[in-house]
Amino acid sequence: MSMNRREFLKIAGISTIAGIGGTALAIGLRKGVLDAAQTAPDTGALTGKRWGIAIDMNKLKSEENIKRVTDACHSIHNVPDFSNTKDEVKWIWTETFEHSFPGQEHKFMPEDMKRKPFLLLCNHCDNPACVRVCPTKATFKRKDGIVMQDMHRCIGCRFCMAACPFGARSFNYRDPRTGLNPEKINPEFPTRTKGVVEKCTFCYERLAKGIKPACVEESNGALVFGDLDDPASEIRRILASKYTIRRKPELGTEPNIYYIIGGNDYAVVPEIK
Amino acid sequence: MATKFTAKPDELSKIDHKPPKKGWMDTPAEFKEHTFCWGAKGKNLNIVDFPNARDWSPAEEDWKLPENWQEIVLEGIKDRLGKYRSFKLFMDICVRCGACADKCHFFIGGGDPKNMPVLRAEILRSIYRKYFTASGKMLGKIAGARELTLDVLKELWYYYYQCTECRRCSVFCPYGIDQAEITMMGRELTNLLGLNTDWISGPVANCYMKGNHLGLEPHTITSSVEFFLDDIETITGIRIKPTFNRKGAEILFVTPSGDLFADPGTYTAMGYLMLFHELGLDYTWSTYASEGGNFGFFTSNEMAKRLNAKIYAEAKRLGVKWIIGGECGHMWRVINQYMDTWNGPADFLEEPVSPITGTKFENAKSTKMVHIAEFTADLIKNGKLKLDPARNDRLKVTWHDSCNTARGMGILDEPRYVLRNVCNHFYEMPEDTIREKTFCCGSGTGLNASENMELRMRGGFPRANAVKYVRDNYGVNMLANICAIDRATLNALMEYWAPDVSVCGLHELVGNALVMTGEKERTQDLRLEPLHGKEAEE
């Protein structure tokens, strides 16, 4: 039912109306059973104001390194694999320099740099274009800076996909469960349904339990996660000491994923407890 | 009780601007002069054995009702509830959605709220509820029920003789409730009390005794036709010799008697005569069945049947094979919906076949009566007529669908086909005022008297308004139709609202355009006016 519905909504173009009217209705109709005081954040949760990641490309030397990172993410989040680019759903993936940082490439740059796969994920921008265009507020900016995707609300209009300059969003053209190995489904995390848009959520479910995103954990220090609003954080110290670039900064979305691409002299910075 | 055209001086300056708080049930009908017809004469009712025959006047306080009039009415309602499913159903299922409210020409033109079809029906429904439904008996006014008082009876009479049974409301009703059916019942009830109108009871008595509404006696009919023949000879140089009451003719021709007497119907009659002569049709007129129309239909079902019986009886006596009917509105409603049921089966007749074209009129195989517009359309389609439409060139014609033939039969395209072949300038009125949505002339069902002229002018206003539209936009100067009452009353309507527009029957235009064998060159039309009006003057 739901898949047809989403298709229908998309085609009929009533998504916007349904979204706006629907939200209003839902809010109007809901007679809260929960008291605000009844809910609280987990005591052990990681908290921050503006989560970000610094990726040291020098440390992602081999394909295996990278695959370990992407696999970690996709397996715990039940991201399906249909083995074709048309239906591909990606939360974290790779691209060449040229495609990752268009306009920055030049013919004299090192060959290996040109060929190097760059690890890409949602930039959790400060000014996310996707949030602005979402008619149902299914995607929104959390207080901690995560650009969150609420699958319950997504009506599959794909405005966000058109708006995102980084290609960080994927649409479920097919039932994602058909692209998963039933034996390897992570029972603790939901799948999605056909007809919704999904993307990296910065492992909000892990942060709530006090652990860092899966990609960071699996990167052997190549990815550094932290609160960019905290001057004492490790990530701030790295950004202060290294030259970093971001994807398409000229668009003004203020991405929060930074890339360290030059120099092999980067020293491991001790973790902050 | 009737309001005269006077007002006290102090009333002049302060007309009451406040609508009454009272609902319609508590607002008795006010008999306003020039809106109702005179009461029936006792002697006319006696001729046809109607009960409670006496002279009476609606304007007078005392209607000289029989002692037990309430009983008579209630008994009458009961009787009819058992005889007519339509009546019982239409009393029960109206939801008062108001879709019909602004469809009635009398309401549009006059504004009296009780002329909304729904309220006109509610007048009778309120009585029905009081005496025939449990909720009405128990809850009274809350359930919309009302005692049958003299005021209520008068209201019923007043408004049921302000309905032309045109069925326009029925077209828009989601349940097909037909005010015409309800009005018929209401009128039957009033007739049980002798409360007919003079304009209806006179023609009924005439028709019963003499064969036609106008009371034309046999020799008057023939001599009247002689006049047409004289005129036709003047126009065409051809002397036509029609026959009357001739046994063994193939076809009996029946037309409303208005065509024999009242202009412009007479020109239509001339058209028939010319057409039949040119075809060499083996037909005859009857002086006994000399009326196609049926004013009995405006009193009671039984009376209508009694008057209608003459047509088949005469066809049988004369031994004709089938019947052609002339241009008339309610005549055809009666033929289409009632005649065969009342007075059939017409098994002594044959299924109509045009002797000229050989066309079988399949749609008339039981009644054996063919509409002349069907007959003529078939002739034209088969190329049997030589027509010169240019002879009607000084006319810019529009077509009025008569309510009875439109909504009680559905003869819409045949006359238009004929019209397009006999004249060159034909303009339709606005879409929502023609075909099944056509507006009544405002004078049907025996309302075409003179004393109610104001009512007629009001009721005809929506029709006239549409005619005025085509007159102003296309210069239309002729309003054609296939109804004798239209021909008799639209003239008056046009004279008041849209001067310069004349009225004619379809076959007048056919007569004009028909090129007859051996005719002289025509210089006049059937009205004896110069054929090429303007050129002749210049």
Partner: protein
């Protein structure tokens, strides 16, 4: 006055159900006895009314012809609006009953820029259609409570009805449409002067009643929750003729049920019978073929007519003088 009477009547009914259940604990009366009575009145009353209509014959063939008749073969007949065959009538009736064809035709006479125009007036049609269809869908949806295992078509209807997947529990579109249209139908009776003038208490009452039913249903579904399994238990108890009153169903349910029972019981006594009546309306359900096939009036009786013989006796001399043939010389 007529409005207030109907309004307070419905309010009183709501209060009596509330008091009956909340204070007097008459759950069995409101949950079992009254529903049985209501459904009995409804069914028998409905049948009785239809049979009563059926006991009156249709003496004449009186269809309202809204289009070209069947005549010469080359003239295009309007087979639906002026049917000459049963199939035409079936289509005509179907259009009427399912799509409110006649109301769709509605026009309004109005003044626009100083000119009189006959404009389209589709609001009544639209609201009427929305009202009846949403009512039907809601009615059908409720069968999930009366059937042990719910047939798939009812599930499909529910799925379509909650298509927009808004809110929790999912919002039924028909709930909104019904409330909206019934409100419109009420407001037009208040604000359109003609319609107000013709409206009786009997017109407002069912509107208030239906509004009450819809509103209590919506409240129950979205706000004052009741134990739906308990409701099904009660409903199933009724239809398997082993009535039970489960504990703890909220009073709002009994109000809802009571109003429905009233609507059912009121139905055969009122104009709501138009539901059956529309199918019996002779102006719509008849074939216009009375010139082709003789229609029989069961009570047709011989009448007195002025015969030709009497006529000739009156005028014989004059006829002879005018050269008109006569039977007797």
């Amino acid at each position: 006055m007529r409005i207030l009477f109907s309004f307070f009547a419905v309010i009183a009914l709501v209060l009596s159900a509330y008091a009956g259940v909340k204070i007097a604990n008459l759950q069995f009366l409101f949950g079992v006895v009254i529903p049985y009575i209501a459904i009995t009145i409804f069914t028998l009353g409905f049948v009785y009314r239809v049979l009563k209509w059926g006991s009156s014959p249709v003496p004449f063939r009186i269809p309202t012809t809204c289009g070209q008749q069947k005549s010469l073969p080359w003239i295009k007949q309007n087979r639906i609006e002026n049917p000459s065959s049963i199939s035409g009538v079936i289509i005509r009736m179907a259009l009427e009953a399912l799509l409110f064809r006649s109301l769709f035709r509605n026009l309004k006479t109005q003044l626009k820029d100083g000119k009189l125009v006959y404009g389209e007036a589709k609001w009544l049609w639209l609201a009427g259609l929305a009202f009846h269809w949403s009512f039907l869908i809601i009615f059908v949806r409720h069968f999930r409570l009366f059937l042990q295992s719910t047939p798939s078509f009812i599930k499909t209807i529910e799925g379509l009805d909650s298509f927009l997947q808004v809110g929790v529990p999912l919002l039924y579109m028909t709930d909104i449409v019904l409330l909206g249209s019934v409100t419109y139908l009420f407001l037009r009776r208040v604000f359109i002067p003609q319609v107000k003038y013709i409206s009786l208490a009997a017109d407002y009452f069912p509107l208030f009643l239906i509004f009450g039913i819809a509103a209590s249903g919506v409240l129950m579904r979205y706000f004052y929750k009741v134990d739906i399994v308990g409701v099904k238990e009660l409903a199933m108890g009724l239809v398997i003729l082993k009535p039970v009153i489960p504990q703890g169903i909220g009073v709002i349910f009994y109000i809802h049920l009571f109003l429905i029972c009233l609507l059912f019981a009121y139905f055969p006594l009122s104009k709501l019978m138009h539901m059956a009546g529309v199918f019996l309306s002779p102006t719509r359900n008849m074939v216009n073929n009375s010139r082709m096939v003789r229609h029989i009036n069961p009570w047709n009786y011989p009448v007195h007519v002025h015969t030709y013989e009497e006529y000739e006796n009156d005028f014989r001399e004059k006829m002879k003088k005018a050269g008109i043939p006569v039977e007797k010389e």
